[in-house]
């Protein structure tokens, strides 16, 4: 089980790095700690959604843990609960 902590600011600048670091974990179950996220932008949301779907296709578990208030609010506003909802734990 690989674990990663999501960065505080997940904006345009963070998207490429996030994609690369998540992709590097492909093939093993992944747990992302969202407790420190203060801003989640649309681009990073896409990366997370794509990652969740890729992990699902691979048959590996993918989870987002301890979502911060900002993170949870962003997910709600984006309407991404359904896409990521099952991956979010410990809200």
């Amino acid at each position: 089980m690989a674990q990663m902590t999501l960065p505080e600011t997940m904006d345009l600048k963070a998207a490429a790095g996030l994609k690369a670091s998540i992709l590097a974990q492909r093939g093993s179950p992944l747990e992302l700690d969202a407790s420190g996220v203060r801003r989640l932008g649309g681009l990073c949301l896409q990366v997370l959604m794509a990652a969740a779907s890729t992990w699902r296709t691979d048959g590996q578990s993918f989870s987002l843990t301890n979502p911060s208030e900002s993170f949870a609010e962003a997910i709600r506003l984006f309407g991404a609960d359904a896409a990521l909802g099952t991956a979010i734990h410990g809200a």
Binding site: D11, L12, A15, A16, L18, K19, I22, L23, R26, R39, L40, G41, G42, L43, L45, Q46, V47, M49, A50, A51, S53, T54, T57, A74, R76, L77, F78, G79, A80, A82, A83
Partner: protein, 767 residues
């Protein structure tokens, strides 16, 4: 209804582009160079055509596009595998779709039988797709994709037409969920473009702003989102559909997006929730019990609505059976708001031209559509300006004003500016050859299937730009060269297998700029020209003397002789009554050249070269027997004053000129063109060494050279009639008309007059 007509014209222009995108995408899928986005683009192309066609009531087109789209949607969602067979089918379907578009435009007819067969084939494939409920599933997708596609925005105008389509879908969809949100509000569909993020804007902020207007409920459409590994982390893939419950006006909602104008595609449609009280009670259980039939029911009104807009009475509903169990009771309810929406949508469609500028494509990709006539007029005016400027320059020179005077310097600057204006105007008319090339894959498919060969067309240099006047004339010669390459060039599959070549023949169509001309090459990997056979045919038909010694290249080019056809029997394909000689003649009329080179066993290459523009020409102005003539500079290799010892008599009237170890026939322009009876002594005049379209050289004799100049071409055919030996005319600085020589024709005229044992032989002998 002029306004509507104008929108329709725009729609058909869009259709052409969409059809090209469609074909391009399908070809990419065929080559295996496609990705998820390609399939999406292909789907969007068909979908947008359908949307626009629906708004104009082009029923047959809508019907066909719908079946096509349904299958594409299954491909897109991965339910149907994009096998080579399927792609081939889709390509053929795109041809039929193109026919439908042409027919809707009043150009040509649709082969109804073919169209029906194709539609049936597309539908059948859908059924074989292995999806448990393909109809319902794809219907869901197409219903939701309407909004998605809308915002994807092919062009502002079309989007607006699409709008005419969308509101119904959404309102119907809304109907289904009406129990949850009874209050009125807006459905806001936001598709951020990558630029939005690049400019440090954020879709989250937009959503947060929307929430200030009232409670929102967002659903995210990730159908365009690729695999993590394939995605560009800085590109935008998601579409957000926001159900906003508020009493604020549409303007208020729009205000939220003020700062991202152009960076996101936006659709705002009113929620119809409060209008339909009976619906919730019925639909709520239905939603839980049978989601798929409901989806089908959603799809059915979508089609009905398309028909409604078109004001056609017969509504094509492809899935009536699937819709049956649930659809009947809610249908009337659903239709009411839909009809209302249709009415509401009409002004939107009509207002499209007014709205278009506001919703113009994002920065950097704005395109202006201009009536070609306006550009032609501009070019005419600039041509006049060039002539006028030359005239003033000449007057100034006549008055003996020194070169260093302010007036002369000012004139020089004016000349430069004029040149620049001319170049810029010509650049406006320059178009990529893509518009011609994109018609070719279809031709190749049709010809290939007609002759039972497998052919792959490879195209290169589609972006090569050439003047509009030239582009219009490229189509015919290219068509011919391709037909010829497939029919005569490529072997039958069996033959190819025998000689160890891949069964699929490859034909390469290439465009490039070379030496101020555009060169089009058609290369096949077939058997090459059977030279002994070609020569024998030419001899048998009396086209050349039996004992004539010819180089390989000369033999290859025999196929351009009038009356030559290599096929043993005239086939459907090449033998359409137009031989390669006609092609060559029409190409030459444009100042172009066409030739063929061949390597037996390895294939042949047709090379077509044309001037980049037919509007201006760099020429050498010469005097011949008191006349002023212009010789195209492109044909001139060098000019010289011959010495007496270099001129050798040949026969009673002929003469040749010794130029660096070789002899070139001397052709007096004056006597050939009929200006004078007898050729003067070449040593008294100037000789222009010219190269003909086949690489053969000749030495044209003129009396004097006036200088080199860019001249504006005025068609002689359009203003007078065609004259042999003359390509066109121009107006000189002093206002006089000068003829522009057709160098090849002059050489040929001279050849025809030369004594010959057989009437047709000299043409070849001299080549």
């Amino acid at each position: 209804m002029d306004e509507l007509e104008a929108i329709k014209v725009t729609f058909f222009q869009e259709c052409e582009e969409l059809l090209a995108d469609l074909e391009g995408g399908l070809l990419a899928m065929q080559d295996g160079t496609s990705d998820g986005e390609t399939v999406n683009a292909v789907f969007r192309a068909v979908h947008s055509i359908k949307g626009g066609a629906g708004a104009f009531g082009l029923d047959p087109l809508v019907r066909f596009a719908h079946v096509f789209e349904t299958l594409l949607d299954s491909v897109r969602s991965g339910k149907v595998d994009a096998s080579p067979d399927l792609v081939a089918l889709l390509l053929r379907a795109s041809d039929v779709l193109a026919d439908h578009v042409s027919a809707a435009r009043g150009m040509g007819d649709v082969d109804e039988a073919l169209s029906h067969a194709m539609a049936a084939e597309l539908e059948a494939w859908d059924g074989d797709g292995g999806a448990p409920a393909p109809a319902a599933a794809s219907a869901t997708a197409s219903a939701s994709d309407d909004d998605f596609d809308l915002s994807a925005g092919v062009a502002a105008e079309l989007d607006d037409m699409d709008f005419g389509f969308t509101p119904m879908t959404i309102s119907v969809e809304e109907q289904a969920g009406a129990d949850e949100q009874a209050a009125a509000g807006w459905m806001v569909v936001i598709q951020p473009k990558s630029d939005l993020y690049r400019k440090a804007n954020e879709s989250l902020l937009l959503l947060r702003e929307l929430e200030r207007l009232g409670p929102i409920e967002t659903t995210v459409d990730d159908s365009a989102l690729p695999d993590l590994a394939d995605m560009d982390p800085e590109a935008s893939y998601l579409t957000f559909k926001v159900k906003l419950t508020t009493d604020k006006s549409e303007a208020d909602v729009r205000e939220v997006f003020e700062f991202v104008d152009g960076d996101c595609d936006l659709t705002i449609t009113p929620l119809m929730a409060g209008d339909a009280p009976p619906a919730p009670a019925f639909e709520a259980p239905a939603l839980e019990a049978a989601p798929e039939p409901v989806a089908a029911a959603v799809a059915a009104p979508e089609v009905d609505v398309a028909a409604l807009i078109s004001a056609a009475t017969a509504a094509p509903a492809p899935q009536p059976a699937a819709a049956a169990p649930v659809a009947p009771p809610p249908a009337p309810v659903a239709m009411t708001p839909a009809a209302a929406a249709a009415v509401a949508a009409k002004p939107t469609t009509a207002a499209a031209p007014a709205k278009a500028p506001l919703e113009a494509p994002g920065p950097g990709q704005s395109v202006i559509r201009v009536d070609p006539e306006r550009i032609d007029r501009l070019i005419d005016l600039v041509s006049e300006l060039v002539i006028n400027q030359a005239m003033i320059a000449q007057r100034v020179a006549e008055h003996g004003i020194p070169q260093s005077s302010n007036l002369a310097i000012g004139l020089d600057e004016l000349e430069q500016l004029t040149r620049e204006i001319q170049d810029s105007v010509m650049a406006i008319r320059a178009q990529p050859v893509k518009s011609v090339f994109q018609r070719m894959p279809r031709l190749v498919r049709e010809v290939a299937s007609m002759v039972g060969k497998q052919v792959r067309l490879v195209m290169e240099g589609e972006g090569t730009e050439v003047d509009k006047t030239v582009i219009e004339r490229l189509s015919d010669p290219i068509t011919h060269m391709l037909r010829n390459a497939i029919d005569h060039g490529l072997e039958n599959p069996d033959e190819r297998r025998e000689v160890g070549k891949p069964v699929e023949g490859v034909i390469k169509l290439q465009a490039l700029h070379r030496g101020g001309r555009i060169v089009i090459e058609v290369t096949d990997d077939g058997r090459g020209i059977n030279r002994p056979r070609v020569q024998k045919i030419a001899v048998d038909k009396g086209l050349i003397a039996p004992d004539l010694q010819l180089t390989d290249e000369e033999i290859d080019n025999l196929i351009f002789l009038p009356g030559f056809s290599t096929a043993d029997k005239v086939s459907d394909v090449s033998g359409r009554g137009v031989g390669m000689d006609v092609v060559r003649r029409s190409v030459q009329a444009l100042g172009g050249r066409i030739s063929i080179s061949s390597r037996p066993g390895h294939g042949s290459t047709f090379t077509l070269s044309l001037p980049l523009t037919l509007a201006v020409l760099d020429g050498m102005v010469v005097e011949v027997a008191g006349q002023t003539l212009v010789v195209p500079l492109a044909a001139i290799v060098e000019s010289l004053r011959p010495k007496p010892e270099e001129v050798r008599a040949l026969g009673p009237t002929g003469a040749v000129l010794a130029v660096r170890d070789s002899f070139v026939p001397l052709v007096d322009i004056g006597s050939t063109m009929g200006y004078r009876a007898n050729a003067p002594d070449p040593t008294d005049g100037v000789v222009l060494l010219v190269e003909g379209e086949d690489g053969g050289k000749a030495a044209l004799v003129a009396d004097n050279i006036q200088g080199q100049r860019q001249v504006v071409i005025k068609s002689l055919e359009a203003n007078y009639q065609q004259v042999e030996g003359v390509a066109a005319a121009t107006i000189l600085g002093d206002g006089r008309v000068a003829l522009i020589l057709d160098v090849d024709a002059v050489i040929n005229l001279r050849r025809r007059e030369a004594p010959a044992p057989k009437p047709t032989e000299p043409m070849i002998a001299a080549e």
